[in-house]
């Protein structure tokens, strides 16, 4: 019998790879638990609520899509609809050819949807140079590899492999230090951001009610890719909508917590249309490409709940099969439990139904899913569909087994013959089992023999102790919001200070319009109008957020978005503070904004935290009164 490709891959996978994947996934799985517990009083209730909202989206998909399109267009985002991968590629290439007829660099933010349509190949074929700018995706690209995880693309690689690749590409001297490697990538990709006329991204959420496109990330490459070039193209699976802006905090916290254990990703980019006339930078054109590519078909079938997925990767991290085989074992863009359902649901059980068999059905995936997708149930349904349609064949003759199991007489005869059968008859399961296991053999008495003349065991009074009552949670003391914010910020690599303690006398600074007024009389080492050259970018924020230690920045008149991203140090002046993420919407202007939570960071190299990978490595929040 032909072995499943997943099993075949696992057999050839060196132990070193399994070890890389296991250590990283175990770490993130533990971080997830702590992260969600810190973000939500009741993570379980949060998951239930999120599942409900995603189901609402799926039930009202067309209505919400129409609303999204209408609201996007209102703010100047051009929307395109693509039935399949071919059409999406065609649309994107048409936009590219208008924007940069001569080809050139296209910076890419990490996006599974663009992987799904194999966009890079199409761009290359048309004479463009697509450059993956997420650290992990960049390594994948220069190694001509494919991502083996939807969140951590190089989870299967160790630092020695990455070091060899960087040295080979001439990024710098050979080093195995994750921080130095990340800085080499930063320097190399900085040039690309400068050069690119087009930036391509995926979409994490799109808000139907307002037409806002939401992108999340930790490194800063995504904001660079979608801010520096003149044209931003965002590719989005049609299911990735949220009805209202107020749904966003729940999903942002669930996604970050489930994916990495963070309270929030470093950057939450809230895009509200192209650059306004009074703004200094940002793309002058934004295109949103809505991708179906089989999704409506999935929505109409028995696996529709898989479209709730928000691509956090928690099910991959916790899956014992994924941990053993890595994402590449699945041979598809979408791997792990998510992929084992989504891939055959999108592309056909006849083609990929075997993926549903590569699971021990342990149920850990459903337990961690932020939107409670019943993955094990769907794996079973896929197995049933695959068996009925002849797409999947099982080596065992279950019909024969059933014939024996429906008559007590046959069953008992079978049991009597069993010791001989396991020894002599080539059982269809025996070869697969016996390769790695000793065969089971009867141990001790048989139950049926014992039952015939068994005397009841004497009953005893057993202790029926009450379960101890849970101690009530003490009500938290009211803390000073700024003190709480300061502690959160410090954990995120930032620090809180005051104007008086700020010394910029030896730094070349870029100041945005609002900051200039606030810093009248301050001494600077120098002032520049070029964000790319500045050592320090000084901006203002609309508010600080206690809950997550974040600051909310918005584009505006005389402001450069890159001031908070390009210089190695970002100083942000802020007066107001709000308790939670829910409160930012009252402050949010009708312009592109960003929630910044700590410094730019990556953990792509062996899970080691490196700060300042594309964005600032220092974040200084200045409280002004």
């Amino acid at each position: 019998m032909k072995r499943s490709p997943v099993e075949q891959y696992a057999r050839k996978l060196p132990q070193e790879k399994t070890d890389s994947v296991r250590s990283a996934t175990v770490k993130v799985t533990n971080a997830r638990l702590t992260g969600l517990a810190a973000s939500f009083e009741d993570p379980e209730a949060a998951r239930t609520e999120a599942a409900k909202i995603k189901d609402f989206v799926l039930e009202h998909l067309d209505e919400l899509l129409n609303r999204l399109v209408e609201n996007c267009e209102k703010q100047g985002i051009q929307v395109h609809r693509a039935e399949d991968a071919a059409e999406a590629n065609k649309i994107i290439l048409q936009i590219a050819k208008r924007a940069a007829p001569g080809g050139g660099v296209v910076t890419k933010a990490k996006s599974m949807a663009t992987e799904e349509i194999h966009l890079n190949e199409h761009l290359e074929h048309a004479g463009y140079e697509p450059v993956e700018t997420d650290l992990g995706e960049y390594v994948v690209q220069i190694d001509h590899d494919t991502p083996s995880h939807i969140v951590a693309p190089i989870i299967h690689k160790n630092r020695r492999e990455i070091a060899r690749s960087f040295a080979r590409e001439g990024l710098g001297d050979y080093t195995e230090d994750p921080s130095t490697l990340a800085m080499q990538a930063r320097a190399h990709l900085r040039e690309k951001f400068h050069e690119a006329k087009i930036g391509v991204s995926g979409v994490n959420f799109a808000i139907a009610e307002t037409g806002r496109i939401v992108l999340i990330e930790n490194e800063g490459n995504n904001r660079f890719s979608t801010t520096a070039p003149d044209v931003h193209i965002a590719l989005m699976g049609i299911e990735k909508m949220l009805p209202r802006e107020q749904d966003l905090p729940l999903f942002l916290k669930l996604l970050a917590g489930s994916a990495t254990g963070q309270s929030l990703t470093t950057y939450v980019h809230l895009i509200a249309g192209p650059r306004r006339e009074d703004e200094i930078d940002g793309p002058s054109e934004i295109h949103l490409v809505l991708l179906d590519n089989g999704r409506r078909k999935v929505l109409a079938g028995p696996y529709k709940e898989i479209l709730r997925c928000i691509r956090c990767g928690a099910c991959l991290n916790v899956c014992p099969v994924y941990r053993q085989g890595s994402g590449h074992a699945y041979g598809h863009v979408y791997s792990g439990p998510l992929g084992a359902v989504l891939a055959p649901a999108l592309e056909g059980v006849d083609k990929l139904g075997y993926l549903a068999k590569a699971s021990s059905l342990c149920g850990a995936c459903e337990e961690v899913c932020p939107v409670k997708i019943p993955i094990p149930r769907m794996l079973l349904q896929l197995r049933d569909e695959g068996t009925r349609t002849g797409a999947i064949k099982d080596p065992a003759n279950w019909n024969l087994y059933a014939t024996g199991a429906v008559k007590a007489g046959r069953w008992k005869t079978g049991l009597k013959l069993l010791p001989m059968a396991t020894g002599v008859v080539p059982h269809p399961m025996k070869s697969g089992w016996g390769e790695f296991h000793e065969l089971p053999h009867r141990e001790g008495r048989t139950f049926r023999d014992w039952w015939k003349d068994h005397k009841p065991t004497p009953a005893a009074a057993l202790p029926h102790t009450e379960e101890p009552a849970r101690p009530e949670k003490p009500t938290p003391e009211k803390k000073d919001p700024w003190a709480e914010f300061e502690a959160k910020l410090a954990n995120l690599g930032g620090r809180l200070t005051t104007l008086g303690d700020l010394d910029l006398s030896d730094k070349t600074c870029y100041l945005d319009a609002d900051a200039i007024a606030l810093l009248k009389g301050a001494k600077f080492g120098g002032v520049t109008g070029d964000v790319w050259q500045a050592e320090v970018g000084i901006t203002t924020a609309l508010c600080a957020v206690v809950e997550t230690g974040s600051v909310l920045l918005a584009a505006g008149s005389g402001k450069a978005r890159l001031a908070s991203l390009a210089p190695p140090v970002h100083i942000v002046l802020v007066r107001d503070i709000v308790p939670s993420l829910d409160d930012i919407f009252a402050k949010l202007p009708d312009r592109t904004s960003v929630v910044v939570t700590g410094t730019s960071r990556t953990a792509d190299i062996e899970g080691v935290l490196v700060r300042g990978v594309h964005g600032p490595r220092e974040l200084i929040v200045v409280r002004i009164s």
């Binding site: 072995r3 014992p320 850990a364 007590a408 008495r445 139950f447």
Partner: protein, 230 residues
């Protein structure tokens, strides 16, 4: 419900289950026409075969009747509670329980008096407890035995890799997961591996025997039965 594995290979677990239930004050009825719940073909994707077996199981064991159906296997209980509604639409909730669940939640037993010889035990929670909403019921009873020292081990919550036919069709993946579990248990210094599902234990035992690992295995009912005074 004895389960097919205990019927075929692990009679002692069935015997221990009856002794434990009787010791807890239950009158145990055993229907001799019972065979299998249908889970093996159900998991393998052959639902036609699974339905045939499930019908036989319903006829012989009346899981929807008044007498609670108790089984020393979380996965068989899950088959009746979660699998049958997938095989037959609109079926009612069966009166069926995993043994530890029944002792703790139905009989209200929180600890098991009695003693066994001193031993270091690693407890593996079988995954089907997830679907049943089980927590530490089985573990709690084992921990309460005098003589048992329960040890913690790395990645305790991870599956053992059995998965029914998966262990035969995806042998490398399955045994790789199982080996990881055994490595973690051995590193904890445990002499015994105890669980509540003979599927997991059959798989892990197959690996233990293949590699001559210094680890004994038992179903938790066997420990409870052993502690019943003679």
């Amino acid at each position: 419900m004895l389960t097919c594995l205990c019927d075929a290979f692990f009679g002692e677990v069935g015997i221990a289950t009856v002794r434990v239930l009787e010791h807890a004050g239950c009158e145990v009825v055993f229907d001799e026409t019972q065979t299998c719940c249908g889970q093996p073909p159900f998991n393998a994707g052959d639902w036609k075969a699974a339905r045939k077996i499930a019908r036989h199981c319903i006829e012989s064991l009346h899981p929807y009747g008044e007498i609670p159906l108790v089984t020393p296997s979380g996965s068989c209980a899950a088959m009746l509670r979660e699998g049958y509604p997938m095989l037959f639409e609109g079926t009612e909730h069966p009166n069926c329980f995993e043994l530890g669940e029944f002792l703790v939640h139905k009989l209200g037993i929180q600890s098991w008096p009695g003693e066994v010889s001193p031993r270091k035990v690693a407890f593996h929670r079988a995954c089907h407890g997830r679907g049943l909403g089980l927590k530490d019921e089985q573990e709690r009873l084992v921990r309460s035995l005098q003589g048992v020292e329960l040890v913690q081990f790395a990645q305790q919550e991870q599956c053992c890799g059995f998965g029914g036919a998966f262990a035969a069709t995806h042998g490398k993946l399955s045994s790789g997961i199982g080996q990881e579990k055994l490595d973690n248990i051995l590193a904890s210094g445990a002499e015994w591996l105890v669980s509540g599902d003979m599927g997991c234990l059959m798989h892990l035992n197959g690996l233990i025997q293949k590699h001559n690992l210094p680890l004994k295995t038992a179903h938790f009912a066997q420990f409870l039965s052993e502690a019943i005074p003679a």
